[in-house]
């Protein structure tokens, strides 16, 4: 028997690829039968494919085993505590999935008169997200947080251009703790990025900020609470200063989960916000997407939003393409509608009180775990009452990476590691509101045990993990000689 294809659970063999399970002549799905015809006549001989794509040929059970076993080689929220800072890995309610199925057969180009339920949902969601963030108008179109950022910065650019200040405003200010997408987005739109330092409290250093400001600044991009989990207490002053020089204030909504019902970006003075529905509003992360990144703006920027918006008129709901100063479209159709249904379902399930309680419990859990980690010997980077997340550092002599890898053997997912860049050996922890205190206690116990083992057996950490489907990977090999697809033995 070929070792490569032996996959009945033995851990001493490579897990097979679907292509290695293929046997010519097998098949899983059976579409409606279609008899062969003269394709040259229908499609033109010059347009025909001569060599078929080598898709795998497997039975339905082969297929089920393969992808079920692959799923078993995967951590997830449903199976594991997953306190990734900045990622808001909260529980994804199952009723959201049922809701999404009710709308999954709608075609984007069907007559809007036959899609009034979908349009009503979109219209109301625009409203709800506007109310939650304190913004005047919302576009649901962007497909992800970073896509929302791009939308927001293009809107700001168009606004300055409309005011005749497009040439003059060349700079976007971001704090040094910002998510990587912030500077990347600003650069993608052609702006020069200026980073301002954080002060000893983990907040934007006001004097550095003032120095960076001027009539050349197009926008200031902030996350609040910021990436070390601290609320920017000077936010009203920051907003005043930014607007004084004519800059627009941009809110990265990655951390909205901390303040829902307590404070709104719109009231803080932000002109543009993007939200990550896959964080705060429980649409699944899906192993890396699809996300969804709606953008809200104040009234003076409404005309620049992407088209279409959804409007309500006497005869019903319809798409509004009438925004002559719109930056244009950001993606096809109307956004990641399936996720918009999930977020809508979540908001309606919780209601105004429920959403506020989410933020309260998210902050409670994060502070609780901060105290627990401090008690067992971790250093806390900005040791104060934090919001929904905090940044810790391992005891002297230990590496964050090693602790992260050791956690995996306990079935616990590590926190976000080595971010933000401004804290050495950073461990950014965001437990989210859906975890119980018992889970947080267990996580602290596991961390404590790891520290003790490291003390008694220094080599243990460097080798961890031991019991995962695969162990530490050779990432240098992967990057030096990239192998990015399967090679058939006949190649």
């Amino acid at each position: 028997m070929d070792d490569k294809k032996f996959a009945l659970g033995s851990s001493n063999h490579d897990f097979p690829l679907i292509f290695e399970r293929s046997q010519a002549g097998r098949r899983a799905a059976q579409p409606p039968k279609a008899d062969e015809v003269d394709l040259g006549e229908l499609l033109g001989a010059e347009n025909l494919r001569q060599t078929a794509a080598r898709l795998p040929e497997v039975s339905e059970l082969d297929l089920v085993r393969h992808f079920t076993q692959l799923a078993q080689r995967q951590f997830s929220i449903d199976g594991n505590f997953y306190p990734l800072g900045s990622c808001t890995m909260k529980y994804n309610p199952k009723v959201n999935e049922e809701a999404a199925k009710l709308f999954s057969e709608l075609h984007p180009y069907q007559d809007p008169a036959t899609a009034q339920g979908a349009l009503e949902l979109l219209y109301n969601l625009q409203d709800y997200l506007g109310e939650i963030t304190g913004m005047d108008a919302v576009s649901l179109q962007p497909a992800a947080g970073a896509h929302g950022e791009l939308t927001g910065i293009l809107i700001i650019r168009a606004f300055h251009q409309a005011n005749g200040e497009g040439e003059q405003r060349r700079v976007v200010i971001v704090p040094d703790g910002a998510h990587g997408t912030n500077p990347a987005t600003a650069a993608m739109v052609g702006y020069e990025v200026v980073e301002v330092a954080s002060d000893k409290n983990g907040e934007v250093d006001l004097s550095a900020f003032k120095e960076a400001l001027g009539p050349h600044v197009a926008a200031v991009m902030l996350t609040n609470p910021n990436t070390v989990g601290v609320f920017e207490t000077n936010i009203l002053e920051i907003s005043r200063l930014a607007h004084e020089v004519g800059a627009q204030l941009y809110y990265d909504g990655a951390n909205l989960n901390a303040v829902m019902g307590y404070a709104r970006p719109g009231d803080m003075g932000f002109d543009v916000v993007h939200l990550n529905l896959h964080k705060t509003f429980t649409t699944p992360h899906g192993g890396g997407g699809p996300g969804t990144g709606p953008v809200g703006v104040k009234a003076h920027l409404r005309d620049f939003l992407p088209v279409p918006l959804v409007k309500k008129e006497a005869e019903g709901f319809s798409f509004d393409y009438d925004l002559p100063r719109s930056i244009g479209r950001m993606r096809s159709f109307y956004g990641n509608f399936g996720n918009l249904v999930r977020a809508y379902t979540y908001i309606r399930a919780l209601g105004k009180e429920g959403l506020k309680q989410v933020s309260a419990m998210a902050v409670l859990n994060a502070n609780y775990l901060r105290i627990k980690m401090k008690e067992i010997g971790f250093n806390i980077a900005f040791d104060r009452i934090n919001m929904h997340e905090f940044v810790a550092q391992p005891p002297a002599g230990l590496k964050t990476l090693d602790i992260a890898k050791a956690l995996l053997d306990y079935g616990a997912h590590p926190m976000t590691v080595y971010f933000p860049l401004i804290v050495k050996e950073a461990m950014m922890v965001e437990p989210t509101e859906t975890e119980s205190l018992e889970t947080l206690d267990q996580y602290a116990d596991i961390l404590s045990e790891i520290l003790k083992r490291a003390e008694n057996d220094p080599d243990y950490l460097a080798q961890a993990p031991y019991h995962t489907p695969v162990r530490r990977l050779d990432e240098v090999k992967a990057a030096r000689k990239p192998v990015l697809r399967y090679s058939f033995s006949t190649d």
């Binding site: 060599t51 995967q74 990734l84 109310e131 890396g288 969804t292 096809s332 609780y368 697809r485």
Partner: protein, 447 residues
């Protein structure tokens, strides 16, 4: 409804551990001026009331009946095993696979996805997917500008109008000239490409259903040192020659047709597959093969130094997420269908389209596309396209994507078929359009 585990006792216990007297104290950093007393939102609901509400909303939509809608999204057969496997909790609720030791499920499935897309397009390097077809085209243009250090982008008018809009949105911040090539007889003309062109973007089959002379267009682009970007429907590649076969440098498109439900237009996923030489310019995530310290085969995100979380303002793109789950769904679906099944889907779609076109022509209607086409074509309408679509909807038929006026074709619609289209569906549509056309003629002669 709520998903919180906290009992009142838990809250007290936690507050004590933290050393604060109340939940309010945890929010003391928020200035009083900002404290929002209450959001103007509805009250929460229990699951029964919630689902009742959602079903009521869903009832205001109509999805049953024959469906001839296309224009970038189509209803195709998706076997039950595809959603079952792709919607497993471990795939749905995982994060981006940064901890490779416990993310081999998603990493390996993505490596398989990359291989499948590479096979379909006949190009070697696929990224781990993008947002949608339209934004993939925009990213392809940015890639071409980086790779060639040129600033002119030429796009055929046969590329989906919404895709061209997205392209224009993305390029507005660059000193780029975006030039549209108008169609002639519904096909992209073979015009000379100038030496300052970064890329030529052509969709096949194009928005109006025509099959483009891809080989000649690719050669024209290459003669000028420009890259050739092919925008393709991946399902069509079961029968039609693939981007790698006619020399495309970049293949992009939307993957909805190979395994995603319609979802009112999203989420589906975009794909991007390129030649070896463009590897280092590729935006988005990539999964590579390597070994672990026990020499076992393993998969990992690789070449991450191109990406935003490392390069920040010098990244190739700001793109952060991919559309992992919908791309995974397609990978599973392709494996379920296999080469034979995918071919049957394409073949059924093509045959139905030609059957429909012939039936319409037989009752005196004008088909503008063709005679060679895949599974979409343009039909002359006797009334404004939106009105035709509305009248057909009134008869329980979803059909008639309006052709935008700037194609200069007058009142026309796109009709589209798939392997799910039955002979009965076709009869219904043909007789409905015939009737509407006759009524219209009477109206005109009496009016």
């Amino acid at each position: 409804m709520n998903y919180l585990p906290h009992t009142l006792r838990d809250i007290d216990k936690a507050l004590k551990v933290i050393g604060v007297a109340s939940l309010e104290e945890l929010f003391a950093d928020i200035p009083a001026a900002l404290r929002k007393p209450e959001m103007d939102l509805p009250q929460g609901m229990d699951e029964v009331a919630l689902m009742r509400h959602l079903r009521e909303l869903a009832k205001k939509n109509t999805v049953s009946g024959p469906n001839f809608l296309g224009g970038g999204a189509q209803r195709h057969f998706i076997p039950a095993v595809t959603p079952h496997l792709s919607m497993q909790s471990e795939f749905v609720t995982a994060y981006t696979p940064y901890q490779a030791e416990v993310a081999q499920g998603i990493l390996q499935a993505t490596f398989e996805y990359q291989t499948l897309m590479s096979e379909l397009t006949a190009l070697p390097i696929s990224n781990a997917s993008m947002y949608d077809g339209a934004s993939s085209v925009a990213e392809a243009a940015l890639l071409a500008m980086r790779a060639t250090r040129r600033n002119k982008v030429v796009v055929s008018q046969g590329v989906h109008p919404e895709t061209r809009e997205v392209l224009a949105t993305y390029l507005q911040a660059f000193e780029t000239s975006l030039v549209e090539l108008p169609l002639q007889d519904l096909v992209t003309p073979e015009v000379a490409v100038t030496g300052d062109t970064a890329c030529v973007i052509v969709q096949n089959p194009n928005f109006l259903g025509s099959l483009e002379p891809m080989l000649a267009l690719a050669q024209a682009a290459h003669n000028a040192g420009a890259l050739f970007v092919a925008v393709v429907d991946p399902l069509s590649l079961a029968l039609l020659h693939a981007p790698g076969h006619y020399g495309a440098d970049i293949a992009v498109g939307d993957g909805q047709t190979i395994g995603n439900p319609l979802n009112f237009g999203g989420p589906s996923f975009g794909f991007m597959v390129v030649t070896e030489t463009l590897l280092r310019q590729l935006p988005g995530r990539l999964v590579g093969q390597t070994t672990d310290i026990d020499s076992k085969r393993a998969f990992v995100l690789t070449l991450q130094a191109r990406e935003q979380h490392i390069r920040r303002s010098k990244a190739k793109s700001n793109i952060c997420s991919n559309h992992q789950l919908t791309a995974l769904m397609a990978a599973i679906n392709l494996a379920a269908l296999g080469p034979q099944g995918l071919r049957e889907l394409a073949l059924g779609s093509v045959k139905a389209a030609h059957h429909l076109a012939e039936s319409l022509q037989a009752v005196g209607l004008e088909v503008l596309t063709g005679p060679k086409f895949f599974n979409e074509f343009v039909l002359r309408s006797s009334l404004p396209p939106r009105q035709l679509r509305r009248e057909l909807a009134g008869q329980g038929i979803h059909a008639g994507v309006p052709v935008p006026a700037d194609y200069g074709l007058g009142d026309t619609v796109i009709l589209s078929t798939t392997e799910l289209t039955t002979a009965k569906d076709i009869d219904m549509l043909v007789s409905a359009i015939k009737q509407i056309t006759r009524d219209r003629a009477l109206e005109v002669s009496h009016g």
